[in-house]
């Protein structure tokens, strides 16, 4: 900072450097430690339990880490064949089928089954937390989340509809879910629109759309023909990471990075929106347009998580509050913090969802992670409310 002479302390540096405060740094470090520990536990235990040494050997297996072909397989689903790009008409040969080299059983379990699930949990947690944080800023309502604003129930309804009625479309469920979420939010927006929207009307409209979609969801269950469909539908609408792997990660990784960058770019707009609509407008912001774009980013973020994990409740609501308590309400810090804390808590919650039952009841069954987040998130939210009379101030 060459402008010390101006008398402004570094708190005013508008660059991202100044965003990193000691608290944010500690929050990020703490989250990373939690993520690594929970991730390690997730990878080690399970039906095929390993020692920490075996996990370590699996994780650092040079046959995986140093093999470009393996990484192409993970990241693109096959062998890259860039040459095909040059010959039009043969673009379907850009990614050739390939398979993993012969590796030890530990390596296989670590790299193909358990580790990708940890990564997915991180991405899903980050995007959900960021989505909730944006929605809370856009509506200036601390109870806002993708859940409250109809996005989740809209997505859930479409998923159910697909599985129960149009089962041929089942492979498209992730995309359809995202579309359902978007449609639901647009509905919310239309209902709330009256010469512009207001935070209160948005949340009220969200409650209405939520109720309708949830009733429709319950109604659909009666049309399900077999128990398998019901179970699969249930795991979608409660949110679960069971059975996810590199395929899902490939699907959501790039969109999630894209949406996180967009979100961070919108941080200053969110900060100005927090000063109230009138002030934002008198500062020259096109309030409705800004709100709409920010909401679109939040929907996209929520959709990314829904695509991989279904509808995980409470997470997008609670995590921003936790972060706000620690780093304050500046959205640049809040969003960065939400990325870290969201990832870490989702990995931890999913570890609990996968291994919790075997610990508590000795059975090997898994529960959907959405149940864990609800069970822990609900009471924790209550605790936050009690502890802070004014809640995480917005």
């Amino acid at each position: 900072m060459a402008t010390k002479t101006s008398g402004l302390d570094q708190g005013l540096d508008s660059g991202w450097r100044a965003v990193i405060t000691a608290r944010l740094l500690w929050l990020a470090i703490g989250s990373t430690v939690l993520a690594v520990v929970a991730g390690f536990v997730q990878v080690r235990f399970g039906t095929y339990s390993m020692t920490f040494g075996e996990v370590w050997r699996g994780l650092t297996d040079p046959k995986i880490l140093l093999d470009l072909g393996v990484w192409q397989y993970f990241l693109f689903g096959g062998q890259l064949n860039p040459g095909a790009l040059l010959t039009p008409g043969s673009w379907d040969a850009v990614i050739l089928e390939s398979s993993l080299p012969a590796v030890s059983r530990e390596t296989l379990v670590v790299w193909t089954m358990r580790l990708p699930r940890v990564f997915i949990a991180a991405v899903v947690g980050s995007t959900l937390a960021v989505s909730g944080a944006i929605f809370q800023g856009v509506t200036r309502n601390e109870l806002a989340s993708p859940f409250v604003l109809g996005v989740s129930s809209g997505a859930g309804f479409v998923v159910l509809l697909t599985l129960v009625v149009y089962s041929a479309l089942a492979p498209l469920v992730p995309i359809l879910a995202a579309i359902g979420g978007t449609v639901a939010f647009i509905l919310v927006y239309l209902i709330a629109w009256q010469d512009g929207t207001s935070p209160v009307r948005l949340v009220l409209a969200g409650v209405i759309v939520n109720m309708v979609f949830q009733s429709l969801q319950r109604g659909l269950f009666f049309f399900a023909e077999d128990l398998g469909t019901v179970q699969s539908a249930l795991s979608w609408i409660t949110g679960s990471l069971t059975g996810t792997g590199w395929t899902e990660l490939r699907l959501i990784f790039l969109p999630s990075m894209f949406v996180l960058v967009l979100a961070l770019a919108g941080a200053r707009q969110l900060n100005v929106l927090l000063l109230g609509e009138e002030t934002a407008r008198s500062l020259g912001m096109r309030v409705e347009r800004t709100r709409f774009f920010l909401a679109a980013i939040a929907i996209l973020a929520a959709s990314v998580s829904i695509v991989a994990a279904g509808v995980i409740g409470f997470f997008g609501l609670v995590v921003p509050h936790i972060v706000r308590l620690s780093v304050g309400s500046d959205y640049r810090r809040l969003l960065v913090g939400s990325v870290f804390v969201g990832a870490a808590l989702m990995i931890a919650a999913d570890t609990g969802a996968r291994l919790g039952l075997s610990l508590l009841a000795g059975s090997m069954g898994q529960i959907p992670v959405g149940i864990v987040t609800g069970l822990i998130g609900g009471p924790y939210f209550l605790y936050l409310m009690r502890k802070q009379q004014e809640m995480g101030e917005l």
């Binding site: 101006s6 008398g7 402004l8 708190g11 540096d13 000063l275 109230g276 020259g284 912001m285 304050g328």
Partner: protein, 294 residues
């Protein structure tokens, strides 16, 4: 100077702005001050509501301080909102330097005109300095960080508002008066030609009322800023404003220099009070005596 402000009732037709402009630029000391006027403004809330302001044409003396006074519900705040483009007029236009304000990009408009609303919210943990820095929003591109000019404007605003001692405090920890000063600093950092203040002294203790009015005085004497403020305190208006505009039921009842406007008969008519008005060394003294019931 009275002809700066032209109520539609007085002439029955819109003012001829061309003539007025040339007159002004010669008579006015601040030749670079913004020319600010509302023409035939009709303002209402919602489409089928009765207009609060039904056709007001006002021209504000460039570089000077104009106070809007009038009883509750007389349309002062509504007029201010209409002038600030917060409330879209049903009819009529707002002109800044002869240009229709509606043709300006929102940010360009916000570089010309700042508004401090009556009520404001902010996150409690926001520091005063950061709040003031938000005033630079219309001067910055979406991804630009604070420039030297931004920093200089923030410093200037903090110093004019006299809040350097609390610049690092969170807004939530300040008294109402201190918060108001911080918000005024934010509006000052916007570096506009025109500043509208909606009841900046209401609910403040006497000390902070004087602090606020001292800022207004500084703006009047040391800058070319055109200031329009809504005041409830008639004496305050008389003391600090160059011009006073009295509103009743959405209509401009009087306008002109304080000594011309603040009279016993006007107070009786506009505020429905009996009051005595004396000229003292400290300015006009208005002593309200009793309400009029007629």
């Amino acid at each position: 100077m009275v002809d700066h402000l032209t109520a539609p009732e007085s002439s029955g037709e819109p003012i001829r702005s061309g003539d007025a402009e040339t007159e002004d630029s010669t008579s006015d000391q601040n030749s670079n001050a913004a020319d600010f006027e509302g023409r035939d403004l009709v303002l209402s809330y919602g489409t089928d509501a009765e207009p609060v302001i039904d056709g007001a044409t006002i021209r504000f003396p460039p570089g000077q301080v104009t106070a809007l006074i009038g009883p509750n519900g007389s349309g002062k705040s509504t007029l201010l909102k209409g002038l600030a483009d917060q409330l879209e007029p049903d009819a009529g236009t707002v002109h800044i330097d002869g240009k229709n304000a509606q043709d300006l990009e929102p940010k360009a408009f916000a570089r010309k005109l700042g508004l401090l609303s009556q009520e404001h919210t902010s996150p409690e943990s926001l520091t005063v300095e950061r709040l003031v820095a938000h005033g630079r929003y219309p001067h910055r591109g979406v991804f630009e960080s604070l420039s030297q000019a931004d920093r200089a404007a923030i410093e200037e605003a903090i110093s004019v508002a006299g809040i350097s001692h609390i610049r690092d405090r969170p807004v939530g920890s300040l008294s109402g008066g201190q918060q108001q000063l911080a918000w005024i600093a934010m509006a000052l950092a916007q570096e506009t030609d025109i500043l509208l203040l909606d009841e900046p002294t209401t609910f403040l203790d006497p000390h902070h009322q004087l602090e606020v009015m001292e800022i207004v005085e500084k703006l009047r004497d040391e800058s070319a800023m055109t200031v329009v403020l809504v005041l409830h305190d008639i004496e305050q208006a008389a003391r600090y404003a160059d011009h006073i505009l009295a509103l009743r039921d959405g209509e401009i009842q009087a306008n002109g220099a304080p000594s011309e406007v603040i009279t016993e008969s006007l107070l009786a008519e506009v505020f429905r009070i009996e009051a005595s008005v004396e000229t003292t060394d400290a300015g006009l003294r208005v002593t309200p005596l009793r309400p009029r019931h007629e």
